[in-house]
Symmetry: C2
Subunit: 428 residues, 2 copies
C-alpha cells in the first residue's frame, strides 16, 4: 500500500481531533483512502504549550516550511490570513494538495488560492470552512453540479444561533445570552466576529462563489449583526409566527447576485426555524432540485475534524489513484448587486402617535414609495400615547423601504414616526 | 474539448427530465464535466408512446445493446430487475461507467454490480436511488469517509410521508389519505410497494451497505408498513409529544447491525418531526460528526434528474481527467441481527379491564420480562369497561417486548389484555 505523507499546520482543537481520529481509526482511513496516511510533522508556534495527549511531541516543529516541503498533503488549521496564505502557496509550489478550514483566508484570497492550486495541478479542499461537519461544500461543489442554484439561505454561525435561541426560549437579554455563550465556550471573549456577522459573511462569500460560479469576496457581503435584537422583538416576531435567525443569504437574480448577512424573520414552518442551539443548517434551492437542506453541528473539534478527514481521504485517493476534485469555476461572473437594489419581504417596526388617521398617512407613505403592504398590526397605545406599528411588506426594493422610513421619520405633524427599524422576512 | 458519449435507457419522467435539463444547460454541464456530453441514443420499449417534447425521436431505439456498445456512460432509468441488470453488466463489460437510480436492483443485486464495476475499472453511481435530489449517497460515500457512522434514520419514502402527514394534519383515515395521494400522483394504483414499506426497505439496504461497509440486502431488512395506522393512534401520539413517521433505521451495535423499516414515534423536537408532505430527510449519526441531516424532495422528475446529472458530471469528469469514485468497500462485514435481538424504546397500546390492581399486574409482567417502563398513561374507561393503556419503555430487547405482550394476552383473570400493539420510539 502506497504511503501518503501528511503535514499538519496547527494543533488546536480541530487539529488535535484530526490526529486523535486518524490514530483511532487508522486502518479504516487507510482502506478508504487506498493509501497509508502518515503524519510526518505538526507545525506549531509554541513547542511547550500544553496539548492533547494524542499529539506525539516528537512530531512537533516550529519550522512549517520544512514539513511542507516533504508532504503530499498539507492540512492547514492555523486560521488567520498570514502566514496561512504563504504556507498554502508554498505547499502548492511544492506539488502538495491542501486541506484547509480557513474561512477568513478563503473569503479574502480564495481566487488567488484556487488559481494557484489549478496551476499546480493539485487539490484544494475546504469542507471544514463552512458549517463544521455539514457537507455543504461537497454538496455545492459536486452534488449540485447537476442543477442551477437560485438561493442559498443558511444558519452558518452556531454562536449567534445559540444566543438568539437562548433569547427566544428563555427571554434573556442579548448581553445575558452572550455571557452564557462565553461560559459554555461557544463565544469568544471578544464576540464581535460572531455577533457582528463577519464570520457568517466569510462563509456566505465562500458558498456564493461555489453556488454561482462567481468570485465573491467578504467585502461583497452586506452584513448586519445581532447586537440590536431585543427579547421584545423576538417575542413580537413569535406572535406573528416567525423566529429571528441570523442568516447568510445569497440569491441569484436576473441582473446579478444579492448577498446578505443579518437577522431575519423565518416563518415557523420553514425548515430553518427548528434549527436550535449551536447547530448549523444551509438551505439550497435549485431550479430543478427544489429545496435541499444540509444540517449538522457547525463547530466543535470532532465534528469539524470529520470534515477535514473526509477531505484528506479524497485528496489522498487522488494522489494514489489519479484524478482531481472539480475546479472552482468562475464562468458565471455574475455582477454583485448593491444592498439598496436587493429585493425582499421586509418587516418594519415603528412608534407612531396615537391619533386618528395616522395609519392612513403611514400606509400612504409606503404606497408613494411603491412598497406594497401584506399586513399591519397596531398595538394598544402606551402611557406616552405611542402605538407600536408593525408593517410587513410584499417583496420590495430595499432602497424603497429605506426611502419610506426616511420620509416617515422626517414627516411633520401627527404621523411622525420614531425609532423605525426593519428586518428581512423569508417565505416558508 | 473531449466528447463523452451517453446512452440513456428509459425515457419516463426522470429520463425525460434528464434530457430536458441537459439540453437547457448544455454549456454549463460541459464546463462542469470538462467534456462535451452527447446523448447518442435513448432505449425505450415502445417507439410510438407519447413523449416529452425534449426527446428527439431520431435518438430513440429499441435496441439497448447497440447504444450501450458505443457509450462511455450508460444512464439506466428503466427500473425493475431485468433487463436492467443485464444491460448494466453489458455496459461494464464494454468498459462504460453507469449511472442508475434503480433501488430495487441495487438492494437485490448490489454486490454483483459493485464487483463488476470494480473489475471493469469503471464507475457505478446511484445517487438517484435514495432520496431523489437529496445527496445522501454522496454524503455517506464521500463526505462521511472521515467518520464511523453509528445510526441512520430516514424518511425515505415520500408517498407514505405524505399519507401520514395528511392523516396527522386533517385527521383523515388511511384509505382516504391513500386516495388523495393517488389523485395527486404521489401513490400508484397499487400502493403496496410504498405503504407496505418495501420501497423504504430497499433504500435502507443501500444506505446501510454504504454506511457500515457491509453488504446488506433487501431481505435483511425487517419491514412493517403503515396499513394499520389509524388517526386515533396518530392523535394519541400527538398528545404524548410525538409524530408518527415511516422510517428506515440502520444502527450499528457492538454485535452487529439492526435494520428496520416501520412506523415509529418521533419526538416533536427531533429534526425528522418537521419533515412534511412528500419530502425526504435522512439523519446520519457518526461517532465524531454527531448528527447530520440531509433534507429535500424525495421524488419527482426534475429533482431526481439533478441527482442523475450530478452523477453524470462526476463520471464524465473521471472519463476525461482520470480517477474513479471510491469503491463500495465491504471490509466491515458486520453480522445482521435478527429483529428479535433489536433494542429500542417501544410504546405499547392495549385495552385492559377497568379493575383495581390491573395496572400493578400489567407493569409486573413488564418487569418479569426485563422491560423497564419510562411512562404509563391510562385513559378513562369506555362504555364496555375497558381502559386504554399506553406504556412507553426505556430501551428494551424486542424479543422481551414481544414476550411481554404474549404473556399479557394469555393472562387469565381481570388483567387480560386485548388488542395489544407496539411501535418503536426514537429519542430526540
Amino acid at each position: 500500500m502506497k504511503e501518503v505523507k501528511v503535514a499538519l499546520l496547527g494543533a488546536g482543537t480541530v487539529g488535535s481531533a484530526v490526529v486523535r481520529l486518524l490514530q483511532a481509526n487508522a486502518e479504516e482511513f487507510n482502506l478508504r483512502a487506498g493509501a497509508r496516511l502518515r503524519v510526518i510533522g505538526i507545525a506549531v508556534r509554541n513547542l511547550e504549550a500544553p496539548r492533547d495527549p494524542a499529539i506525539d511531541r516528537a512530531l512537533l516543529t516550529t519550522d512549517a516550511h520544512a514539513i511542507i516541503a516533504q508532504a503530499d498533503i498539507v492540512i492547514e488549521l492555523m486560521g488567520g490570513i498570514e502566514p496561512a496564505r504563504e504556507y498554502i502557496l508554498a505547499a502548492f509550489a511544492a506539488g502538495a494538495s491542501v486541506v484547509t478550514g480557513n474561512k477568513a483566508l478563503l473569503a479574502e484570497h480564495g481566487p488567488e488560492l484556487y488559481d494557484a492550486a489549478a496551476r499546480a495541478g493539485v487539490d484544494l479542499y475546504y469542507e471544514a470552512a463552512v458549517g463544521g461537519a455539514v457537507p455543504v461544500v461537497y454538496g455545492l461543489r459536486e452534488s449540485l453540479a447537476g442543477d442551477r442554484v437560485t438561493h442559498i439561505l443558511g444558519i452558518v454561525n452556531g454562536t449567534t444561533n445559540y444566543i438568539l435561541d437562548e433569547m427566544t426560549t428563555n427571554g434573556e437579554s442579548f448581553d445575558a445570552a452572550v455571557k452564557k455563550a462565553q461560559e459554555l465556550g461557544y463565544a469568544e471573549a471578544d464576540p464581535s466576529a460572531d455577533v457582528d456577522g463577519y464570520d457568517a459573511a466569510a462563509k456566505c462569500a465562500i458558498l456564493a462563489s461555489l453556488a454561482f460560479h462567481t468570485r465573491v469576496q467578504l467585502s461583497d457581503v452586506h452584513t448586519h449583526g445581532i447586537r440590536d435584537i431585543t427579547p421584545e422583538m423576538i417575542a413580537s416576531a413569535g406572535r406573528g409566527g416567525y423566529v429571528v435567525k441570523l442568516v447568510a443569504s445569497a440569491k441569484r437574480r436576473a441582473n446579478g447576485i444579492e448577498l446578505y448577512v443579518g437577522p431575519t424573520l423565518i416563518p415557523a414552518q420553514h425548515p430553518l426555524a427548528t434549527v436550535h442551539g449551536a447547530y448549523n443548517a444551509i438551505v439550497v434551492e435549485g431550479e430543478a432540485a427544489d429545496r435541499l437542506m444540509f444540517y449538522g453541528p457547525g463547530a466543535g473539534g470532532n465534528p469539524t475534524a470529520t470534515a477535514v478527514l473526509s477531505d484528506l481521504v479524497a485528496a489522498a485517493h487522488h494522489r494514489v489513484h489519479g484524478g482531481l476534485a472539480p475546479r472552482e469555476l468562475a464562468y458565471g461572473e455574475l455582477p454583485i448587486l448593491p444592498p439598496a437594489q436587493a429585493r425582499s419581504r421586509f418587516q418594519l417596526s415603528m412608534d407612531v402617535a396615537d391619533h386618528v388617521g395616522v395609519l392612513s398617512e403611514v400606509t400612504g407613505t409606503f404606497a408613494r414609495h411603491n412598497v406594497s403592504i401584506s399586513g399591519v398590526t397596531q398595538e394598544s397605545p402606551t402611557a406616552d400615547h405611542l402605538c407600536r406599528l408593525t408593517v410587513t411588506t410584499h417583496e420590495a426594493l430595499q432602497a424603497d423601504v429605506e426611502a419610506t422610513i426616511a420620509d416617515l421619520s422626517a414627516a411633520a405633524g401627527p404621523a411622525t414616526v420614531s425609532t423605525a427599524s426593519f428586518v428581512r422576512v423569508e417565505v416558508a
